[in-house]
């Protein structure tokens, strides 16, 4: 597992629910057929009302017209990210679009579990209201060993809350890899 995650930030508000991350009408594509999988990238975050996407300016699409991947690989958001349904298609869609990590004030439980157990993206929590200071397009750098995020564009560094118990599952790459490692399954 890499120890530094670098990428451009895409900034969102609070209570970004799973319908905004991947609207229900798109849940019908296969998660294993490579051609259909691309559509999850294409429609990632397509349910966010346009003015709320890519803060502080807004009206910045997460995935450009005709594309399947995003230019932004780190999401910065307020509290309660991933609330709503249990659909694992949500973290899957973000991963497919190229997201590596999310930095939010807090998460809904099922979404958080799905990120970790499925090994899709790393869900970091921060005590700071980073979505008020980071601007969409800023270059960020997450230091996994030291639990920090640096806004390279503005030369500011913030603490991330340690992942705690779940770090071992994140490091293993998901619940299956972890369970094998711990001899919980053959």
């Amino acid at each position: 597992m890499e120890s530094i995650i670098e990428g451009k930030a895409y900034v969102l508000g609070k209570n970004i629910d799973t319908d905004q991350i991947i609207p229900a009408e798109h849940l019908v594509y296969s998660l294993s057929d490579p051609e259909e999988v691309k559509l999850y990238g294409k429609y990632a975050l397509s349910g966010v009302p346009p003015a709320e996407g890519g803060l502080p300016k807004g009206n910045i699409p997460f995935v450009g017209e005709g594309r399947f991947e995003s230019d932004y690989s780190i999401i910065v958001a307020g509290p309660n990210f991933g609330c709503g349904s249990s659909r694992e298609h949500a973290p899957f869609a973000l991963q497919t679009a190229g997201v590596k990590a999310i930095v939010a004030e807090s998460y809904a439980r099922i979404f958080y579990r799905n990120c970790v157990d499925g090994g899709f993206v790393i869900p970091y929590e921060t005590a700071e209201q980073l979505n008020r200071t980071v601007m969409t397009g800023d270059e960020l750098q997450i230091d996994i060993d030291n639990n920090t995020v640096t806004n390279v564009t503005r030369d500011e560094t913030f603490a991330l809350k340690p992942l705690g118990d779940v770090f071992s599952i994140v490091r293993a790459g998901g619940i299956f890899a972890y369970a094998r490692q711990e001899n919980l399954m053959s």
Binding site: Q20, S32, I110, D117, I175, M185
Partner: protein, 432 residues
């Protein structure tokens, strides 16, 4: 050491006498539920991780209830049903309820109750966030994703962090103009959509125990709208009567110890509460219906796991009998059993179905229908700038279809009263 009901159930499932809040424990799962949206990807992960010839840990404990995208021409949605059918056959799953057959049931959370899968003291995981509905039976029920569900399919186990509990006590008699929906929307307005994240929501008090099981399910159903891990109501004689009518399986009743510790305790006097509505675009955006009175709506929708039970339509019939709706009003029975009872159950001497039809409502087929949007041809889906008053459980942007539409969550009484006037209307106006 004193424990809450949630701790006691999780301790039993972990083969322990006591579990501490905050500790992670491995649980033996009693039932795994899945449906047509999350079933196929779950089965893919199961095969990938356990091998192409792997068998599920216990076919009796896997319940597959297609319900989300049922009556649609969408090819991908139909393919999902084919995938469920194939897996059920390969694995000899006795509890698969295929679409287009006599066995088809409808919305999974309501069907689980009707078919006797909800048993006090047991642990249910489901690939749907509203799996917390089953907590109305004094059991632990919670939603999970596909990877966790695939893990259970292979091992029968899953880890869970033992939650702290929040207690919500409703005292006093519930007035006839209030429904369980008003109680839970009241709580949501008070604690917010993340007010119970990672916690159990325990409901208690005379008013809660005076409710029929179906209404209790509306309370626990929406625990997830506060971020709750599970909602729970200890079983009483009403629960036992419901369960015994449907299954002969054994169960164990747990109750919280009087000195159990809670994260917080909220008390309400049911007689002091008013009909409320959650305005767009969040379930915690609560207002009294009175203060929103006169807001023009374009549609009314009565259905879903929260609002499509027989008791919900009885409430709607109380308002709609002898009246006519002023806006398109879509009715979706949660299950085939509910649809059948609409024909046979009488209100004031008339079948409920007739009352709803005479009022001008359109009645759809049992399924999740437009609660979560779905394919373009879904029954009742919102269009353009609709403002829908709905008995469903979520009103995030775009939830019922159109990204430009709004959804006002309300009780069946409020949804019916508002349908009659074409604007948000306090049901007291018609119940006096």
């Amino acid at each position: 050491m004193a424990q809450t009901i949630t701790q006691k159930i999780l301790a039993r499932a972990a083969n322990r006498k006591f579990v501490e809040t905050g500790e992670s424990v491995w649980l033996n799962v009693d039932i795994l539920l899945t449906h047509d949206v999350c079933g196929p990807p779950t089965f893919d992960i199961f095969r990938e991780k356990f091998g192409p010839d792997a068998k599920v840990w216990d076919p009796e404990k896997v319940v597959v209830l297609p319900d989300h995208y049922i009556f649609t021409k969408n090819e991908h949605a139909k393919r999902n049903i084919d995938l469920l059918r194939k897996f059920a056959k390969e694995q000899n799953l006795p509890n698969y309820y295929d679409v287009g057959t006599e066995r088809y049931k409808g919305v999974c959370h309501v069907a689980l109750a009707e078919e006797g899968y909800n048993l006090p003291g047991t642990v249910l995981f489901g690939t749907d966030s509203h799996t917390c509905t089953s907590g109305a039976f004094g059991m632990f029920g919670t939603g999970i994703g596909n990877t966790d569900a695939a893990f259970i399919l292979g091992t029968g186990k899953l880890w869970e962090k033992v939650p702290e509990s929040m207690k919500f006590i409703f005292e006093g008699e519930i007035p006839e103009y209030l429904a369980a929906k008003d109680l839970i929307l009241q709580i949501l307005g008070d604690i917010g959509t993340d007010g119970a994240t990672y916690r159990a929501m325990e409901f208690d008090g005379d008013a809660v125990y005076s409710l029929p099981v179906e209404e209790r399910m509306t309370l626990t159903n929406m625990a997830i709208e506060a971020g709750g891990m599970n909602g729970i109501i200890a079983a009483d004689e009403v629960t036992e009567a419901y369960v015994k009518q449907r299954t002969g399986k054994p169960y164990e009743i747990f109750r919280s110890d009087p000195d159990a510790e809670y994260h917080s305790i909220y008390r309400y006097d049911a007689r002091q509460l008013e009909p409320v509505v959650a305005m767009p675009h969040s379930p915690d955006n609560r207002a009294t219906v009175r203060s929103m009175q006169g807001t023009k709506i374009t549609k009314s929708y009565i259905g879903s796991c929260t609002g499509g039970k027989l008791s919900d339509f009885v409430m709607a019939a109380r308002i709609l009998k002898g009246r006519t709706v002023a806006v398109p009003t879509n009715i979706v029975p949660a299950t085939v059993e509910v649809a059948r009872k609409l024909e046979t159950e009488l209100y004031d001497g008339l079948p409920i179905r007739k009352i709803l039809e005479d009022a001008g409502c359109t009645i759809g087929l049992p399924s999740c229908a437009a609660c979560l949007g779905g394919p373009q041809d879904t029954f009742g889906r919102s269009e353009d700038n609709d403002l829908v008053v709905s008995t469903t459980n979520r009103n995030f942007p775009g939830r019922m279809g159109s990204k430009n539409a709004g959804v006002c969550l309300a009780s069946p009484l409020t949804a019916a009263a508002s349908a009659v006037k074409g604007e948000l209307t306090d049901p007291r106006e018609f119940l006096r």
